[in-house]
Subunit: 308 residues, 2 copies
């Protein structure tokens, strides 16, 4: 077995190619019946398949370069459907500076897209899940809760209207990976650990905690305005939407306190944001102060839905 | 678009990583209902998925190093099934000096295995489909027809018995990629073009012809002894089995005549064989002398079967 520069269970696989460089490899399969909600077009589904993978590269701070595709196509698919899928894949790749370089198609019962993404990282700069140290600042690259609300609108037809509905649904149909932020932050030298929040904020915090052998005290969960409004209108707990939602592609990071200001400024200058949400502690538990009480954040992850 | 060191439509994708090196990337998806015949175990199917991909690396003369897996698993699959699949993948990878380094699973309607294989090739040594020149010798790494016969036994229950049946069925269940031969031949400098014969010998010849802008005069198609016997017993044309069968993983190559002896000796010394089957010509047609008549070899490819 070759030495694994990035441990098993991390978001990507790395292969040492010498001279301080790592080949970064990632595969993720999008299966329509669990990953493509009603109302999402083929173009959007294909683009999302790319975003899912790019997001893991963002968390490592590595530029994705080449993308290969294996398409599973059910019998009814036509030429124009395949073209639409191809266009969505290309659009997603080009948004993030990567190229679709090849692949194959096979007849399958499900519509599914299996992507293979390749990039090269510098060994000394690739960010792992396992580097968080007590005292490190916990931060995220944006507000949470929009995709959880958007999925509720698409899947269980929860109520929302006008601009808010549009914004929430759009967060599901046109997700964005935080690649720009990830690349900048890896260069900053400030980040000790990172992951994306595709399985939900709570789950992501637990993954870093587990890999790093630390805990977190969360002081503030930034909930998106639209998610707040949606929660209020549908009598839901906005914090629940933000913590246990999923298909949200923010980065969850720990940063060295001494380099915090520098990292924050770098991200801000590039048009992004870096929001402090808590502190890393040695006690291996994740807690949050909420209405005066210390509440434990459980390792509950986002479960894939199923169109039935 | 980055420059493509290996043109679109070749068996693998290459990405220039500088200093004369190429990252070689390949994806291929095995879908049980079209690629796994009755009688093939999960372990064998998983191993075959690896062999399919390794075979394309063999044709390029590149060592496959890292393998990532996306598994689509139907609902009924149990823990022990998944373990069997994992063991088959590992066995296949280890046979060829590669490692399964990661992947993911998703629920799907079909059992399917999507593999991504990564290796590094030297830019000057990677073998393309497009380098064949008139005068080059056409050669293969073994005899043909066994898998076509084996598939007929498994799928349409054609008759065969004893050792012959075993050998033919085994060629389907336990295919071998000619990686050793491919690596040696790329080092020999003798090969001008190569492809594997997974879509059948006739199809492979046409692919090289098309990519290189040449034709071939085939003087001899080596048919495996067991395939000859099977054809006789079942009143089939052995040449048809050899030319139009598929799922056969020999290499089909063109070689510079001046280096032929050297290449042949290298392969022989390593326990393999290199069989001359014809000559490259400038006329873009593939013909064969058969019972005194010049016969055209048509671009008929192997069609995937379907278990119904």
């Amino acid at each position: 077995m070759p030495k694994m520069p990035i441990p098993f269970g991390d978001d990507v696989v790395a292969f040492d190619i010498g001279e301080g460089k790592l080949a970064i490899l990632k595969t993720d399969m999008l299966v329509a019946k669990t990953d493509v909600p009603e109302g999402m077009s083929l173009w959007q589904a294909a683009r999302k398949a790319v975003v899912m993978n790019v997001s893991d590269f963002a968390a490592k701070g590595v530029q994705p370069q080449a993308v290969l595709v294996s398409l599973g196509l059910p019998k009814g698919f036509r030429e124009k459907d395949i073209e639409e899928i191809g266009n969505g894949l290309n659009a997603g790749a080009r948004e993030y500076g990567a190229y679709i370089l090849g692949g194959d198609t096979a007849e399958a019962s499900d519509f599914l897209i299996s992507l293979f993404v390749f990039g090269i990282g510098e060994k000394s700069k690739v960010i792992l899940r396992s580097g968080a140290k007590p005292g490190d600042i916990v931060a995220v690259t944006g507000c949470f809760g929009k995709t959880a609300a958007g999925l509720k609108i698409l899947l269980s037809h929860s109520h929302a209207s006008g601009k808010i509905r549009e914004e929430l649904v759009n967060s599901v149909l046109m997700p964005q990976a935080r690649l720009k932020e990830g690349l900048l932050l890896s260069r900053s030298g400030a980040v000790s650990a990172a992951i994306d929040s595709s399985d939900g904020l709570a789950w992501s915090l637990h993954e870093i905690a587990k890999a790093s052998g630390v805990g977190f005290v969360i002081s503030h969960v930034p909930v998106a305005e639209e998610a707040e409004a949606f929660a209020k209108a549908n009598r839901l707990d906005p914090l629940h939407l933000a913590l246990y939602g999923g298909e949200e592609y923010e980065l969850v990071l720990t940063l060295k306190p001494t380099l915090w200001r520098r990292a924050e400024a770098m991200v801000k200058q590039a048009g992004g944001e870096l929001l402090q949400i808590g502190k890393t502690v040695s006690e291996q538990q994740i807690t949050m102060l909420f209405k005066g009480k210390r509440r434990v954040i459980k390792p509950i992850g986002y479960e894939h839905f199923r169109n039935t």
